[in-house]
């Protein structure tokens, strides 16, 4: 499967320009894309099935802020490169990205260990437990938009 890019061109006034979802679950990708469309949260949606694909894309677009997302929804459990391993590579990369990016960790895991571990990363704005509802999407995107640079 290739990187999915959804263009919500019909949306006139989105809150942010683009949202990135890093998750291997195609059903989740489907529901989140629908929600972003319904809530008019973003014009564009970038989907990656694992951390490796996303990192590769970020490196490729390191100097193109237009192509980089405003918000990332990062899953924990993924093949090839999971959420934790993604963070290891993303943190040093973040300095070089020419854009302010808000990162949310999203997972269906209620495992305390995961929730505690997220707290160690200042780069992660919040840990969001799935399922993500319409209201939650609106809230998270608005919060990302209001955060200072």
């Amino acid at each position: 499967m290739e990187t999915v890019m959804i263009n919500n061109t019909e949306i006139q006034t989105a809150v942010v320009d683009s949202v990135c979802v890093i998750d291997d679950d195609d059903i989740y990708q489907f529901t989140i894309s629908r929600l972003i469309k319904i809530t008019q949260a973003a014009h564009k949606l970038l989907c990656f099935r694992n951390g490796r694909e996303a990192i590769n894309y970020f490196i490729e677009q390191i100097n193109n802020p237009d192509k980089l997302p405003d918000v990332i929804f990062l899953d924990i459990n993924m093949p090839i490169m999971d959420g934790w391993d993604f963070l290891q590579e993303y943190i040093p990369l973040k300095q070089k990205l020419s854009k302010k990016i808000t990162l949310y960790m999203t997972s269906s895991s209620v495992d305390e260990k995961d929730i505690e571990r997220v707290k160690n990363y200042s780069e992660v704005t919040d840990y969001v437990l799935k399922p993500i509802t319409k209201e939650k999407v609106t809230e998270l995107i608005a919060k990302a938009n209001s955060l200072p640079l």
């Binding site: 059903i27 924990i76 093949p79 490169m81 269906s108 895991s109 495992d111 399922p131």
Partner: protein, 381 residues
Amino acid sequence: MQNFTNLLFSQDGKEKIADRIGYAGFPGTGGNMELTSDLLVSAAYLAIPAIFLFFIDRKKQNTFQHIFWVFTIFILGCGFTHFTETVMQWWPEFRFNAITKFITAATSWFAVLSLIYLLRKYLAQKTPEEYIKEINERDKAQEQLDKKNAELLALTKKLRVQNKQLEDFAHITSHNLRSHNTNLLSLLNLYAAEKKKEEKEIIFSKFVTTVDRLGETLEQLVESTKIRADAGIEKEEINFQEIFNKAKETLEGQIIEMGAEIKADFEKASSIQYNKIYLESIVLNLLSNALKYSSPKRKPKVTLETKIEDGRTMLVVKDNGLGIDMEMHGHKVFGLHKTFHEHKAAKGLGLFMTKAQIEALGGEISLQSEVDKGTEFRILF
């Protein structure tokens, strides 16, 4: 002082001594019988303390050291009285003799009391037989303690494995099962809010997919709990070659298609007491993994070898495939639904089940791997 010396060494009655010597001797013996005997006794009495002193010197840790000292003085005293008796013939110091005897008498009684005291102490102590019995009992108790300790260690190991498995299970439930549930909830919300019929149909098809996946995950969980719950797993003598042939047969199409070279050497351990279904599953899984994750750059080469290590049978499965980045993935190789390569058939189930089966029978599995070089699995049964 002069008076005291005079008193002590007064020789009053010295004229009587000659009579005594005269009377003690038998006719024709010259009267030297008492004299000779006294000298011999004195010599013996000197010899015994010498032996005692030698003994004390040698056996420094002797518990009875004190009584030996008492006896040494006592016997020396006795010897000295015999000696004074002898010299009295020429030097009749009666008072000196009396005092010597008095001191000897005092030491003798001190020795008697010491002996009574020691005897009581000795009787209160255990006899050598009692000691041997006690040592034997202690050895036996120690043996039992060691046995219990070993049992406890084995139990702790088992508990640790089971605890880890339980943790895994909780992890799977919280991750894998819950993710399907959250998807269903999300789809439900979308479905309820959707007005268009064709959009509803798309969402419905996603329901079908999710429900199927949920069923699959549940099935896998049930399978894995079966392994874990199965305490009385049947074991039998199994031939490695037989199991290997069966696995090879199952994968034959793949092997021919890939031109894979599979070698097996079960010389060092040809058979094992194990559960047949488990061993079949373990060998098939490792072999199929080696083929599945082979490198596109070269023909797959897989070797299977058995060894005996520290009295335990070991199976080593080595390939020249893609390898796994151990630094990145080493800790989750055996996790459920963990895959590290792009492969459509990769579900991350095989190694999870393999590990569960091996551990259920008290074994261990470990691996060494290098990216683009290959992987080596070691199973210690």
